[in-house]
Amino acid sequence: MFHADRWLAPLLATLACVTALVLLLILGFLWNEAWPVLTEGGWRRFIDAEGWYPLEGSFGLLPMLWATLAASFGALLLATPIGLASAIFVRFYAPQSIAGLYRNLLSLLAGIPSVVYGLWGLTVLVPIIAHWRPPGASLLAAILILALMILPTIALTSISALSAVPTALLQGAASLGLTRKGMILGVALPTAHEGIVGGIMLAMARALGETMAVLMVAGNVVQTPSSLFDSVRVLTANIALEMAYATGQHRAGLFASGMLLTLLVVLLAWWAAHAAGETRHG
């Protein structure tokens, strides 16, 4: 072992441990804060209770879980094809100057703070939907705003993934007489697959965790969404709306929703890693 390694390895290990420790501390903290509501009635009260009336002792989290999943997956469904299409356009079809401009535009879009998207949604998008189908503040508004927010993430990571495909592979495909379409579908996309999926997962995590923008446009009524025009409340918005004024059991209930959200993200990360591993070996 080189001299430098003797110091570097333990140092890096310690720093890595700190990261892991932070995650454990957060989980422990959430558990600890949610404890009062968990001991009194057990975890089933989050599923069995009808509705969320924390001051009256009813802590139903399921409607908000469904709303969170519906908003995030809806946004993903909308943003993934558009993001991927933009990436393919920039990488393979756009002239050099337009590609650069487009990429800058996406970076700019990614940098806009979420509260700005929310304000725009509240003052422009929601009234438009309300004119069509009241009340306007709805699952649809949340999906549209979230899709807009995660679109640059998906597009930019896909562009990077496609740019990382070795030129030799693409030249090989061309020399075999493949059309541009055949080259993109048959060679570039499968090779860049892992990076693209990683970007989608990153976008999904952002959609799940987004608070301000969704809080402003989703309507925040606690109910299981049955149509796109229903007003819904997501888990993050629940915490942001009520935390400042919550005490006792109510506060503990909010920490429980935070814990559920964390578990959801952990589960998603595990599933993503699993899926990526499967395709690599399969």
């Binding site: 929601v126 009234p127 009241p134 309507g219 925040n220």
Partner: protein, 275 residues
């Protein structure tokens, strides 16, 4: 080596302790209502200027926290944006200002007034269309507040409703979000603090405040005590255990010297102090 570290930590602890001990002498902690907190913060700043060496520490967290902290002795003064309940008779309330809640509609909504019964019917979902109330044939969008807000508590209390009975289409956090939601939806009805609503409508927001029981929702009517949907903003203390500093602060907060601070935040002086 170990001993040196130990001594170092001990010295640090001692220093910390002596510091907090000297600070508590002239430090007053206020916790509670987020409606009162911004006001108390401004009053506190002015009080500190008049009394050098005094620190006023203001923390929000809801009226319930104000009551709990004052009882537990964690706060010298609690901030409570409602009248005290009968079971809170171990505390004394000192009213420093009045705040009122106004029902707001979009400016284009032709409905000019609603009775208490009609408002109740709208908020419980028994009336879902403006046509039945003399308006256009459009579905009503009911805007309600998130659980725990003191405006919500006052609203439910005045109309004798339980939160479970409310059938809302939009739930909002603060007053600004409520005003923006109603301003963007001609079919919406909501309730917000009168001061904020009056200010926003003079600034051009397309909203209209409805009169309650025939009394116009204005700051002037709030001041003369005629407006029914109003609440006192209180500083509360625990009976018998109030410090000299807390007493001085309350006297200061109820004096005329801070009336400009009340006006700046759209509150009005309580009836017995104003003249």
């Amino acid at each position: 080596m170990l001993r040196r570290i130990f001594l170092f930590i001990l010295a640090g602890l001692l220093m910390l302790q002596s510091q907090t001990a000297s600070a508590t002498d002239e430090r007053l902690v206020l916790t509670g209502s987020s409606t009162v907190a911004p006001l108390a913060l401004e009053i506190g700043k002015r009080f500190e200027r008049h009394h050098p060496g005094v620190r006023i520490d203001v923390q929000s967290g809801g009226s319930s926290r104000g009551v709990a902290d004052t009882r537990a002795g964690l706060a010298g003064i609690g901030m409570v944006s409602r009248a005290l309940k009968p079971e809170e008779d171990d505390l004394t309330a000192h009213t420093i200002a009045m705040d009122g809640i106004g029902i707001i509609l979009h400016r284009d909504n032709p409905v000019n007034s609603l009775s208490d019964e009609q408002i109740k019917a709208i908020y419980t979902g028994r009336v879902r269309n403006w046509r039945k109330l003399g308006g256009p044939d459009r579905t009503i969008t009911v805007v309600h507040k998130a659980e725990g807000r003191s405006t919500l508590e006052l609203f439910l209390h005045h109309f004798d409703l339980k939160n479970r009975q409310i059938k809302a289409q939009v739930i909002i956090g603060d007053n600004q979000q409520g005003i923006k939601t109603v301003a963007g939806n001609p079919d919406a009805i909501g309730y917000v603090s009168i001061g904020t609503a009056e200010y926003e409508s003079t600034q051009g927001a397309p909203i209209r405040l409805l009169p309650m029981d025939g009394v116009a929702a204005t700051v002037a009517n709030l001041r003369n005590g005629r407006f029914p949907l109003s609440r006192p903003l209180n500083l509360v203390t625990r009976d018998g255990i109030t410090s000299e500093l807390a007493k001085r602060f309350i006297d200061f907060a109820r004096s005329e010297t801070i009336h400009d601070l009340l006006a700046a935040q759209f509150f009005v002086p309580p009836p017995h102090v104003s003249r």
